[in-house]
């Protein structure tokens, strides 16, 4: 709320609001799409192959 009030008192408020909201929304939408893709894919892979359940994946053995 304070943020919103502060926004109205700014010069170039429209540009500021547009810039920040477009920027953050774009990154947020991308983050969401990554999560959704991840959920859809992890349903199709056995847990034993999702190594981050235990630790971070290390060097790929297929290399």
């Amino acid at each position: 709320m304070t943020l919103l009030l502060a926004l109205f008192a700014l010069t170039h408020a429209g540009y500021l609001a547009a810039g920040w909201s477009i920027g953050l929304l774009a990154i947020g939408a991308y983050a969401l799409s990554v999560l959704v893709r991840g959920r859809a894919l992890s349903k199709r892979v056995p847990l034993s192959r999702q190594r981050w359940m235990n630790s971070l994946p290390d060097e790929d053995e297929q290399s």
């Binding site: 943020l3 170039h12 408020a13 540009y15 810039g19 920027g23 992890s42 060097e59 790929d60």
Partner: protein
């Protein structure tokens, strides 16, 4: 790819494969790319974003200063856009550099792990680069009085960089044999990364009338709060980049698993069904 059950084109029957996996999905298991690490990272990023917003809009001052003849000049409140624009730009470049590095290591070690890093990093880089361009255009209107300026080296270079890596992602989105794709994509990424200095130089010589701040940090006449806000911006974008990279990497990893491991399972299941049919009859 060393599995003996490898099939020429794993994508030939996606519909059938999806059908199979839907039946066999593990209903109650953890089904996301999240882990303890990413959860902590994610919450830190969100908290950092709130702090960044507070600093950007309330604590940091507007940019203005008095010239010798008494006129007040500066970017005024438009400077608050830079707390988003500059960190996004810096981490876009970091992401593309990581793509270049990952590609070099892939060509050297032929490890799929690094190929996934390169691919993931490029995708995030394109998103950050797009945000940089958008916020830059919006910032330029009130400050430079123009949306776009062809004489400015940095925006032209950034646009080209954006297009180069959009091309890279377009190449990667076309289904083809995974190892050839990884190899050729690596070459493309390395050429793309090498292009950056070349493009930058040539644009600079092209029109030597740069509008951009020679060094943003100097130009802002950094007061403590401004510098601090910018640093918070870098920290938040660093965390965000890491969070996105880990998640995107796991998506790439899973996609490869689905293609390869899934096929093995499908074959096994097919075999079991055949045996069952044989027993019934």
């Amino acid at each position: 790819m060393t599995t003996p059950t490898e099939v020429e084109n794993p994508r030939s029957e996606p519909a059938a494969a999806a059908d199979f996996f839907a039946v066999n999905s593990i209903a109650d298991a953890s089904v996301s790319t999240g882990s303890a690490t990413t959860k902590v990272l994610g919450w830190l990023t969100l908290a950092g974003l709130v702090v960044l917003l507070v600093f950007a809009f309330i604590i940091s001052p507007e940019d203005s200063r008095e010239t010798a003849d008494g006129a007040i000049i500066g970017q005024f409140d438009a400077v608050r856009l830079l707390y988003l624009h500059v960190p996004a730009a810096v981490f876009a470049y970091v992401a593309f550099a990581l793509t270049g590095l990952g590609s070099i290591i892939y060509l050297w070690k032929r490890s799929r792990w690094w190929d996934h890093v390169a691919h993931s990093s490029a995708e995030i880089g394109v998103v950050f680069c797009g945000v940089t361009l958008l916020t830059g255009v919006i910032w330029g209107r009130p400050v430079w009085n123009t949306w776009w300026e062809w004489g400015d080296v940095r925006i032209v270079t950034t646009l080209l960089l954006f297009l180069i890596f959009v091309g890279y992602l377009a190449f990667r989105s076309v289904p083809s044999e995974p190892r050839r794709q990884a190899r050729n994509a690596s070459v493309l990424a390395i050429i793309g990364a090498l292009n950056i200095p070349v493009v930058n130089r040539s644009v600079e010589w092209w029109e030597n009338r740069t509008l951009h701040q020679q060094s943003t940090l100097e130009e802002l006449k950094i007061e403590d709060a401004t510098l601090l806000t910018l640093m918070i911006g870098f920290a938040v974008f660093g965390l965000m980049f890491l969070w996105l990279l880990i998640h995107r990497f796991r998506v790439a990893w899973l996609a490869e698993e689905v293609e390869q491991h899934g096929l093995k399972q499908a074959l096994r299941r097919r075999r079991e069904e055949a045996q069952r049919e044989a027993m019934v009859s």
